[in-house]
Point group: C2
Amino acid sequence: MRKIDLNNFQVATSETARDINSRIMLNLVRKHQPLSRADLMRRSGLQRSTVSVITEQLISEHWLREGAVGQALRGRRPTFLHLNENRAGIFGINIQPVTTDIALANLSGHFLAQESMPTPASSDKFVKQVSRRIRELRKEHPQMAYEGIGVSLPGRVDLSSQKLVFAPNLGWREMDLKVQLENATGLPVDLENAANACALSEFWFGKHAEVVRNLIVVTVSEGIGVGMILNGQLVRGTSGMAGEFGHVTINENGPKCGCGNHGCWEVYASNSAAVRYYSEAKSSDRNGKTNSPKQPAAKTFENVLQLAEQGDPKAAEALNRMAHYLGKGIAMLIAGLAPDVIVVVGDVARAWDKVGPIVTDVVKQRSSTHATTKIMASGLVPQPRLRGIIALVLQRHFGAPTTA
Amino acid sequence: MRKIDLNNFQVATSETARDINSRIMLNLVRKHQPLSRADLMRRSGLQRSTVSVITEQLISEHWLREGAVGQALRGRRPTFLHLNENRAGIFGINIQPVTTDIALANLSGHFLAQESMPTPASSDKFVKQVSRRIRELRKEHPQMAYEGIGVSLPGRVDLSSQKLVFAPNLGWREMDLKVQLENATGLPVDLENAANACALSEFWFGKHAEVVRNLIVVTVSEGIGVGMILNGQLVRGTSGMAGEFGHVTINENGPKCGCGNHGCWEVYASNSAAVRYYSEAKSSDRNGKTNSPKQPAAKTFENVLQLAEQGDPKAAEALNRMAHYLGKGIAMLIAGLAPDVIVVVGDVARAWDKVGPIVTDVVKQRSSTHATTKIMASGLVPQPRLRGIIALVLQRHFGAPTTA
DNA sequence: AACAATTAATTCGAGGCGCGAACATATTTA
DNA sequence: TAAATATGTTCGCGCCTCGAATTAATTGTT
């Protein structure tokens, strides 16, 4: 149960009940469509009359549309209701150090357009290029009602100022991306950390989305990010800094991390770590017997994955070590937060047949508690960052209304 | 923003708005009392007429009572409103391995009675003794309207079955304490883990309670427990197992923990750890030069605290080490969850002048993020477990209503 | 002492909303 | 063709908040 926030509450008006119930109905249609008014009545527990009125209102506001007439063994046939998917067009932007993706999605999270471009060197150029592309896309899809823009970032967004802070991998300096992009496009902009976006993606579009209320996403790339859904909502912490479990110290005397400390989790379990493990194994080989003079170089994690796939034992060993440490960190998350599901996102998910069992083993060995967390690799939801960003904007209409 | 849980939602009725607004008003009075109807109007933003009607209703339901007439420079004088503290009597029971506390509190969290007894050896005896004592207390305070019983436990409570599980320090076997106690007393019973209870206590009665929405309590005794308030509500995780950060591995090769693993955080930072550090230092002395033949024995953490207070260097060193490891774990919590406040509860809080600075140092050294978490010792709220248990029951009436 | 100004609190009609019964519509079965 | 059954709509009732008007109580001014 939530405590009422007396510094930021909202009283109920005469329209509050309608707001609550129409959101519930909208969600029921989203989940179970197609659905008749009678179905909605049964699933919601509202009166037939109430359902009728709310449905009429939602249709007039273009949230729902009537579809085909269904079958019935006896009696009048039901008129099916559907989400009007074009009611809200959402732009999703996924900024990563090298590449930036832009997508246009509808209410169902389906992409109407998707494209990539090199990430501009400065935020000014970014705003210019992206806003031009968005103007063009709007012209190409004039039938949509545009809701807003969601941006996934490889860093943290300060909650109060909505400015980008702490994004070491991106060269941009602290800046007000939100206001600039809003001014350039005329659409409302929401910023969100990439790990949080992935968590939202799994939470709204994942296969377990229907039952799970506590879910954690671990994004593994050059670093490690954690996005947490607890009690059915995103955990952002003070000023949006929550989720930096990647910088929890695993070993004080470990290698130095980009954050300035030593032996952070991401130093041991990120893609970069696997590459390091591989090259270390290689060089130790050179120092000893050169039993494999033709051993190929692995400059990227992609290489390591491929080599492991091809049966290279050193690459497999590097993956093993990475998986081992991944398991340690995940064990920490399970002990402390006991989520229903932990989803691993990133290139490593492609080798989950090898990595997954090791992670599970390490976790099993360390879990004394009765927690029954499922660990799985992403892949069910393609483009998790973009999808999550869509979900972020989606929440405005499908999320629980803010009452009290 | 929360996602609506379609497996467990609540539609709005015509009374929903009243429910929301009267809870808001109840909370406003709780925080700012005494308060006039006009004050409530200004603070809530509701219409004067609405405030008047809701006030009348809350008075007729005995939640509020009218008090003195206030002063005003001009115009009619306001009639002050107060919480009717006796509207709800709540029994708080704090079970610990050795001692069990029973308290009777009113709506304000003030104790009308408080007593202790040795913890019974079995749950059957516990139910018998406690329910008899509660019957007697009810007779002694016949003016109260009794709301329920809250029980703080040194273990985890399974969310779905509401049974006590995973309480290694308590000798009782897995059992249905809730139902037994409800049958014996006729009052509704809520069970909660002790760390969670402390978190609730700080959240509802602590000095920062008015502004903070993300708060973590670390309870330090024989083990370490963590209670988390995130997004203004308790995080219990799947089936109530969240918060076992005490069993996160700090050092794989460390001493064995009661949970079966090695080198858990609580092996390094609990009271028991400090006692171990002290006795290790002592024995190493014996092996070397016996420079302090009269060095006293320290069998309990209490001893270590006293010795450190008296200037014993070995005891101070033991506390230092404990503080150091406490800092490591707290740094993990800050990196991952970025709460506004972390409160340390337990005997160690009494030595916070020595322990606090060390903890802060370790955290500062490790925090690369911009999180601005305050770390403090408890002490502001006496009897945190009992108070938290009161808060747990309090939430039924003062918490946000469950809408959608 | 009388009256205006000011603030507190109540009253009352209007409009939004959900409830539930009655009614209209549509289809199958006897 | 009539009864049975299911979907969907209409309408009056009661609950709720809003906002204007009204009553109540107090101070300052003339």
